[in-house]
Amino acid sequence: MGVGEILSYGFIQRALIAGTLVAVLCSVLGVFLVLRRLSLIGDGLAHVTFGSVALSLIMGVNPGYVTVAAIPLVMLSSLGILKLTEKARIYGDAAIGIVSSLGIAGGIVLASVAGGFNVDLFSYLFGNILAVGNTDMIIAAILFAVVLLAVAFFYRDLFAITFDEDLAKCSGIRTTTINTVLVLMTALTVVLAMKVVGIMLISALLILPAVSALQVARSFKSTIIASCCFATISVMIGIFGSFIMNLPTGGFIVLINFILFLLAFAWKYMRKGRV
């Protein structure tokens, strides 16, 4: 089947557009998250949505709105993670683990109390890149605009804080505010982008393109650009490749991301002669 024919399908077109939008915004956020050792936050917050689902069904929320209902809880959890790293002097990964486990446990307990569901709410929470609807496209576009504008606006502050938080404070940067913006945006991204392309892709797109970019980076700015490129390439190759090879798209995109990482790593190794 030729490329033209593959592109003739609406679901493929939407997958490409929504997938690319989500990939770019995740890969940009991912650079900051990975450098701050918060890489698993995407995974962790996704587990928190488990708890929010249970909360939604207890409150009798219409399944179509379960995503909206999840947003405040996930945002709160992301702030919780931030607070834990600041006050309790716990590293990011442990803080994420704590909040994530709490989300799942809370969800399980609440779900059991609620006595059953009307639908499998998770299928409403987690999208699929091959089943992107018009609402999903709009969500992806708005999220893309919001995240990229925010990152562009706060770029130098984010860069400073990521480099060294004390130095940033001594430059008069309000580190608490910027950190809050970063995690809240991540929370919003996780919940909304998850609805568009599903959970596995979000987690992967927040981590892998950034890590690959770090292998080949020649400057901070170029790292961010490289991250976007890796993410976009993975989505394009992933969609077309999965079609031609008849494989599930989401998983294939993640695999491509990993292959790109290996290539980036090999390139760095050859260039520098050392790991």
């Binding site: 606006f153 860069f159 060294d164 004390d166 130095l167 001594c170 008069g172 170029s222």
Partner: protein, 250 residues
Amino acid sequence: MPVELLNIEGLWVRYNAADVLRKISFRVNSGDYVGIVGPNGSGKSTLIKAALGLVGSERGNITLFGAPLESFTEWERIGYLPQRLRFFNPNFPATVEEIVGLGLLAGRRLPRKLTPEDREAIEKTLETMGITALRKRIIGELSGGQQQRVLLARAVVGGPELLILDEPTTALDPETRERFYTLLRDLNRDRGITVILVTHDTSSIGTYASRFIYVDKEIVFDGTFDDFCHSEEMTNLFGEFAQHLICHRH
């Protein structure tokens, strides 16, 4: 009429129910070159961090450039070089240029973009520090001495009036150390930048600082080098041999 840049009064800092700093009071005026020395664990770094508001205190008043620390906002007047970067990642993907550029954030409105004048300032600072050739290099690839010069460049590029450095030469070999101190001396002498330098390298400080403060949880001594060397009290405290060693260099 000397301008007071930093004034600390009655500072007490506690951590985990133990005193880290007690009754610290001193003042730094414009043009000073103050060395803060003391043994390990004496609270020197904490003192700096408290002065900059990075660490909280039990008690005490701190004013910067005449304004109370809590309401101080003119951070472009201060350049800070911390002892070690909090989570220093040797693979941090930033070039020397980009890092020096980070010194130009204070006192600007978001999004704090770099102007052509800024780029010129960065150029000049790179030159002064002798790191122009390194501008596109990733910071992690540089030697310890080069990294320190980059961080110093970052601290001074914005033209601060006060430069605070916390043990900047610990990991450097003697030759590099000397060059660093020479740089500082030039900044202080020629550009009139006030320097506060924390170090445990007591001997070399004598060569450069106009005044030094000995801290060991409290201020043990605060005065000029001459005073130190001729003080009986100090002889008693340090022993003749040590005192001689410190003062001999002067």
